[in-house]
């Protein structure tokens, strides 16, 4: 610590260099901490589960166009054929697919009347095979039975009498009740049409991954009579890829009055829906890495320069009895001082940038532990960067002092 005096005096004589490096460290810390925070948040977003058997499920769209196209017969025949295929666990017709980005939403309310607000919910129209195909677990109540499934005309205005909802939706509607008590309760759709909740499932995401209430979904016991319908198919493990072309061909050949399109795996759907997040993560990772390298290289470059400039001085110190360790310590300590100034400024800038991001974009407040983490990283970075030049300084022989005077 006795080096502190000389270091400070030397720094005061060359303020600008030290200040520049300190600011650089501060800005680097600001970017790194905020970027890592964003990366972490996106990772959490992407880690959420849809509820489906993602690795073994896929879907396709069947669009009827012939004049004599019959949606009801086609759906019945298709589902029979699909469910009979070896390798298929189960299959349903559905109006929407989790994470796909397009779907149907409604509002459910606990009291009738248009003056009450509804709670938004994603609607999946499925039959009694829904739970099995979607790979969701019934945690209370019961599944639909076959008699409850109805055919939905295009532009129908009414809803079935019973639904199954997700645990999250149950908690949103009845925050006071235990899950088991929600079964049997009545909610209202379209302001005043009553619906009875017959079951609760553990987890099923809405089609929109960017929606804040993505865990709120309901199953409605219906099959659509639209010209365009989706089939969601769940296969046995490992059989998805071989079944996909087989099923596409089977359906295309079974009825020439329609086309089969958009054959898509759930894994691809996930990748597509989260692509902008995974892209952001990768870009920020590159930024963090490059920035770390630039700052480290800057420190190395600058301290090498200082060392070269002070060769004679260092030699003199060595000649007067300073050990190699003393020289090393001098430069390490100098860097530690500059880093600390930078980090102090960096703390303020980091919080400032986070505030800007919170105010202008839908971002959250930084968790406190990111700050000590950032400080540690920058200190370590500075010490590692200066290690090379400092050991070269320590290696300067005392004889240098006697040369070229």
């Amino acid at each position: 610590m006795r080096d502190l005096g000389p270091i400070l005096r030397a720094m005061l004589r060359n303020k600008t260099g030290a200040i520049l490096i300190a600011i650089q460290i501060a800005v680097t810390m600001t970017i790194i901490v905020n970027a890592v925070f964003i990366i972490q948040q996106r990772n959490e977003l992407m880690a959420r589960e849809s509820g489906l058997d993602e690795a073994n499920s896929f879907y396709l769209t069947s669009v009827g166009f012939a004049d004599d196209y019959n949606p009801q017969n086609t759906t019945q025949e298709d589902l029979l054929a699909l469910r009979a295929l070896p390798g298929v666990v189960d299959a349903i017709q559905t109006n929407a697919v989790p994470m796909s980005g397009s779907g149907w939403s409604m509002g459910l309310q606990t009291q009738p009347g248009e003056e009450f607000d509804g709670t938004g919910v994603a609607v999946y129209m499925v039959d009694e095979h829904g739970l099995n195909t979607l790979d969701v677990e019934l945690i209370a109540g019961r599944n639909f039975n076959q008699q409850e499934i109805r055919w939905r005309e295009p532009a129908a205005r009414t809803w079935p009498d019973v639904i199954i909802i997700t645990r999250d939706m149950a908690e949103a509607l009845f925050p006071e009740s235990a899950i088991e008590e929600v079964v049997g309760k009545t909610v209202y759709i379209n302001d005043d049409q009553p619906i009875n909740i017959i079951g609760i499932i553990d987890k099923l995401q809405a089609p929109w991954v960017g929606w804040g209430s993505v865990e709120r979904a309901m199953l409605s016991p219906e099959q659509t009579l639209f010209n365009s319908a989706n089939y969601l198919i769940r296969t046995k493990p490992g059989q998805r890829n071989s079944l996909m072309p087989q099923i596409e061909e089977m359906l295309a050949n079974s009825n020439k009055g329609r086309i089969i399109r958009d054959l898509t795996t759930i894994e691809d759907t996930r990748e597509r829906s989260y692509r902008r997040h995974s892209a952001m993560i990768k870009i920020l990772l590159i930024v963090v890495l490059t920035l770390t390298l630039v700052t480290a290289a800057g420190i190395v470059g600058l301290s090498s320069f200082t060392v070269n400039k002070r060769r004679k001085q260092i030699g003199t110190r060595r000649a007067l009895g300073a050990t190699k360790g003393d020289i090393l310590r001098y430069f390490m300590l100098e860097n530690l001082l500059i880093s600390s100034m930078g980090i102090a400024l960096g703390l303020a800038l980091t919080l400032g940038l986070n505030m800007v991001l919170v105010n202008n974009f839908e971002m959250q407040r930084l968790d406190w532990y990111y700050l000590p983490f950032g400080m540690a990283v920058l200190w370590l970075l500075g010490q590692l960067a200066v290690l090379g030049p400092a050991s070269r300084a320590a290696a300067i022989p005392p004889a240098v002092a006697t040369r070229s005077v």
Partner: protein, 437 residues
């Protein structure tokens, strides 16, 4: 003299190749990162139709729920009901007007071997093409009579014409679409506005549609509704017609109003229209009708993604770090040259000459850094393209103004970085330097 200084500057750069390389790399990285992100932001917020973006207005009327507004900002719904779209079209109160909606359907090529396929369709009116200056390869837009008489006519995109008719002039040919026979009125040349401003309610960077046909056909042919359908109350009558006559919004409308007087008149007309509708028991909310020009509409619909704006902030800070780095390194370098500068000053070089010499050195670092930055920006844009896939297809091309901007940015950055160290170099006191030799 300048060429001599240039030689000196290059010599000085060569003397410390590692340090010079580090400075060039730092500026290159900073400029490259900035340019990549600036390009993406620039293309996202680009004016897609600069010659008349201030004369085209998106129409919004507040037909929404009396109990809650459509949007936290109390904006009217972003689309119109069928009733309002057709009423406003029939009124014909703007210089040009086009209501529109997105749809889709199965196309059955006449060639029996060709498989039927699904195509995206834009339903609109004749004025769409003139209003948005859509280029035609063959034929022309359909006529106002076609709109009025619900004639089955279609305009094909270039890609669609290539696919179905092998790129030949197909005007007058017939084509089965959605099970109905259509006559080809015209074929477009390549047309892809970025952003696809005419319909921002679905993806702002989606590709333009395969087929265009009259919106008036929607009711008789019961054409599908794509895009977003939002309703605050259920249709009162069943069936397709019930849906069209409901308060559900699924339609967009643009009007062309050449000057400010026209806009005021149209705004008055809209208010008047809504007031007459109120007498019929519709429009329960207070009067809230809007006309937004292209750039305003893009702003309201938040076309520039938050992520792109966050990255813009970060990339400028990144550039700042790179510049600080360069300043510190230049400062160190020039201070090491103090004895040399002292000597030059002592044998007659003026401060100005020393200044120019070192600014040239800083400038050449900037230029090299700029070139490196440009290469890195091209690489970066490729990377962005690969990471974002088809979403970024129309967002990752570098044009000449952007290239110039990159070089300018690098030059300004490096001169800025060079200025202080150079000034310091000029302050060298020759006698002191000579004494310590």
């Amino acid at each position: 003299m300048i060429s001599y200084y240039m030689k000196l500057a290059l010599l000085s750069l060569k003397r410390n190749p590692l340090l010079s390389g580090l400075m060039v790399l730092a500026i290159g990285l900073g400029v490259g990162a900035c340019m990549t992100i600036i390009t993406v932001n620039y293309l996202m917020s680009a004016d897609p139709i600069p010659q008349k973006s201030d004369q085209l207005f998106y129409v919004q009327v507040d037909s929404w729920d009396p109990h809650e507004s459509r949007d936290e900002r109390n904006l009217p719904p972003d689309q119109l009901t069928w009733t309002d779209a057709t009423n406003l079209m029939a009124a014909k109160r703007a210089y040009r007007q086009a209501a529109m909606a997105s749809s889709g359907g199965v196309v059955e090529p006449a060639d029996a071997d060709a498989k039927p396929f699904n195509a995206s369709i834009r339903l609109t009116y004749q004025d769409f093409f003139a209003m948005f200056e859509v280029p035609f390869l063959y034929g022309s837009p359909w006529s106002a009579e076609d709109d009025a008489n619900e004639r089955q006519v279609v305009v094909l995109s270039k890609a669609m014409n290539d696919k179905i008719f092998g790129g030949s002039d197909s005007t007058g040919q017939t084509l089965r679409i959605t099970g109905n026979l259509f006559t080809v009125a015209g074929v477009l040349d390549h047309w892809q506005p970025v952003p696809r401003f005419y319909d921002l309610t679905t993806g702002a960077f989606n590709t333009s549609e395969d087929l265009f046909m009259p919106l008036s056909l929607k009711m008789p042919l019961e054409l599908d509704s794509s895009g977003n359908v939002n309703c605050w109350k259920e249709p009162e009558e069943p069936g397709f017609k019930g849906f069209l006559l409901s308060e559900c919004v699924n339609f967009q409308m643009w009007v062309e109003l050449p000057d400010a007087g026209d806009k005021a008149e149209y705004q008055a007309f809209l208010n008047n229209y809504v007031n007459t509708q109120k007498e019929l028991g519709r429009f329960p909310r207070p009067l809230n009708n809007r006309l937004s020009d292209v750039m305003q509409w893009m702003e309201i619909q938040e076309v520039v993604a938050d992520d792109a704006r966050i990255m813009l902030w970060l990339s400028f800070m990144f550039l700042a770090v790179c510049l600080l780095n360069t300043i510190a390194l230049l400062l160190a370098k020039f201070s090491a040259k103090a004895p040399e500068i002292g000597l030059r000053r002592a044998i007659g070089a003026s401060r100005k000459e020393v200044f120019i010499q070192h600014l040239l050195e800083a400038g050449s670092i900037g230029l090299l850094g700029g070139l490196l930055g440009l290469a890195l920006a091209l690489l970066g844009l490729q990377g962005v393209g690969a990471l974002y896939g088809e979403f970024a297809d129309n967002l990752t091309s570098l044009d000449l103004p952007l290239v110039l901007l990159a070089l300018l940015l690098a030059l300004i950055a490096s001169l800025l970085a060079g200025l202080y160290p150079t000034w310091r170099a000029c302050q060298v006191n020759p006698s002191q330097q000579l004494k310590s030799q």
